[in-house]
Symmetry: C2
Subunit: 340 residues, 2 copies
């Protein structure tokens, strides 16, 4: 089967965004009433997914997508903890509805109610709720809740440990994913996302996080940011810094997805990183939509690039399925219980 | 001939750093005397270069290096304009001494006295001094003088125009190069440098800078950060944003260097970007020093990777020489006047 490990609910019914707008309006004007999460009917949810992610997933031959709230909509830069809690819960509940309507095609990955510099109690509580009560299989972790000001400590800092303890206990991985950039120097999709991937990888090279949390697993999306293209740089820096080779030190716990939107990039990813650390993903209907006029292929149809990458059947099988089952054991357990 | 467009004076005699330390000490304690730039003899300068950059340049078959002050030592985050002015001048004067001692092997590229949010008058004045009085052929432009807090506007903002006007008048390019990171989220060499390359490229995709400054030229180092690996992403984002294709819109004025420290990365760079927009560079004795234990090749011996990249003689000639002469016309004029 083919598992796409990186999909966001970018096509939510309009009432969801209206609720978010009302949340933000009330933050600006506390005299407004507290908005309640919207009532959205099953038909509206069904339609929003059937004609979008599910349609494209089927057309491209995919079977199941790990589905999380829209990344740029997480907006962790908004500092109010209650707002973050309610917004994460509403976003995750909507993803849960999608999974309930299309259980063979989606599994949930949750948004965490992070705030810049805020304690992580709310994030761990929401992670626990989503995994234990809603059956989610992973979470998205934002290394820069400030939205482009990078005011949080590196992911190797003790600040993050309470979350890691819960992740380890629940045996769920995190995809490293920032939200919208509030910094005009960083375009959200063309700079901030990739910079976050690159920065976090280097934080892990510098630190010893996985010595402390040996079962912790991170998926770094967008093909690992700049890392595979600069793999020699990272190996050389590690030597210069007296650190172990990243292959031994980082890559037992870190995986890159295949959200790289052209053939040469995918080829390099496979050449450099190897089939055990790459997870199939497209982030379809996400950052880059539409069709490359030169090739006639949708930019985010990454399965096409992988099919053309000259891999063996065994390598493709790892990338399309078995790596995801290994990194997301709760997904594997669910699939196994369904006889898949 | 072979021109390495990216070298820093990372091996300055110790008195230079002692002077910098004294500068910073006086900023912390204004009762200290104002330090004067150090007296450094020709022998000390000769020795610092002959056994380092010049030796390696010769060993690897290079002919000439564009030489600028140490990038991480620029420290534009120090906000005092006078300190920045004096430090840039002292750093550039030392590079000028190297060029004077080894004129066949080095050409000067200057550090600008930038400060976070400061006016660019000092930077334009120092650029003019270095080009007109010292014969420098380009400058290093820091898009984030704050050192990892990214408080400056994008390079497409009018804030930067006075510098561009002087660059255009003098017909010199800028290499985009940040200095040391003061933000613990960003390792200087493993994240901040690459993020800056990536971020600036996207700023240029978003803007229309080269419509206003059609002769302005930027060299984005470190192989263009994450950009070539994600070239499909940038093309797709441009379409989605209603912008022209980056090949037409940005790449008439932007060039990537070859500071990518492994064969697959160099191969991708050439495959995706093509020979007209790539300039040979190694940043030797810079970020990544030493020898890859797996290949026995020095990480930064990028000529080896280029020689093995399957390029035609004509393509290699562009990358090693003619592109640099085109991007740095003052270098070309000097070489021509020397019969080279």
């Amino acid at each position: 089967m083919i598992i796409d490990c990186h999909g966001h609910y970018t096509t939510t019914p309009p009432r969801q965004q209206a609720f978010r707008d009302a949340q933000l309006a009330r933050l600006a004007d506390p005299s407004l009433p507290v908005p309640a999460p919207p009532a959205i009917g099953d038909d509206a949810i069904r339609e929003s997914v059937e004609n979008n992610q599910l349609k494209v997933l089927r057309e491209r031959g995919g079977d199941l997508m790990l589905f999380s709230p829209r990344a740029s909509g997480m907006e962790h830069h908004v500092p109010d903890p209650e707002t973050a809690r309610v917004w994460a819960r509403a976003s995750n509940d909507l993803v849960h509805r999608v999974v309930g309507l299309f259980p063979r095609h989606f599994a949930g990955v949750c948004q965490l109610p992070q705030t810049p510099g805020g304690a992580l109690d709310d994030a761990t509580a929401e992670l626990r709720r989503c995994v234990e009560d809603l059956g989610f299989v992973g979470c998205n972790l934002n290394p820069d809740p400030s939205g482009g000001h990078w005011t949080s400590p590196p992911l190797t800092d003790a600040y993050w440990f309470p979350l890691y303890e819960t992740m380890a206990e629940l045996d769920v991985p995190a995809m490293i994913h920032v939200s919208a950039s509030c910094n005009p120097a960083f375009h959200t999709l063309g700079a901030h996302y990739l910079n976050a991937d690159t920065s976090v990888f280097m934080q892990l090279v510098q630190g010893d996080l996985f010595e402390r949390f040996p079962t912790l697993r991170f998926v770094i999306p967008h093909g690992g940011g700049a890392v595979p293209y600069h793999w020699g740089r990272y190996r050389g820096l590690a030597v210069r810094m007296g650190r172990p080779d990243p292959s031994d030190h980082v890559m037992k716990n870190v995986f890159f997805d295949t959200c790289v939107y052209h053939q040469p990039g995918i080829d390099l990813l496979h050449q450099v990183i190897g089939p055990d650390n790459v997870l199939f993903a497209s982030e379809m209907l996400g950052a880059v939509r539409g069709v490359d006029p030169e090739t006639g292929i949708a930019w985010d149809d990454t399965k096409r690039y992988i099919d053309n990458a000259g891999l063996t059947d065994e390598e493709r099988h790892k990338i399309f399925e078995t790596n995801a089952r290994r990194v997301y054991p709760r997904l594997h357990a669910r699939l196994t219980s369904e006889g898949r």
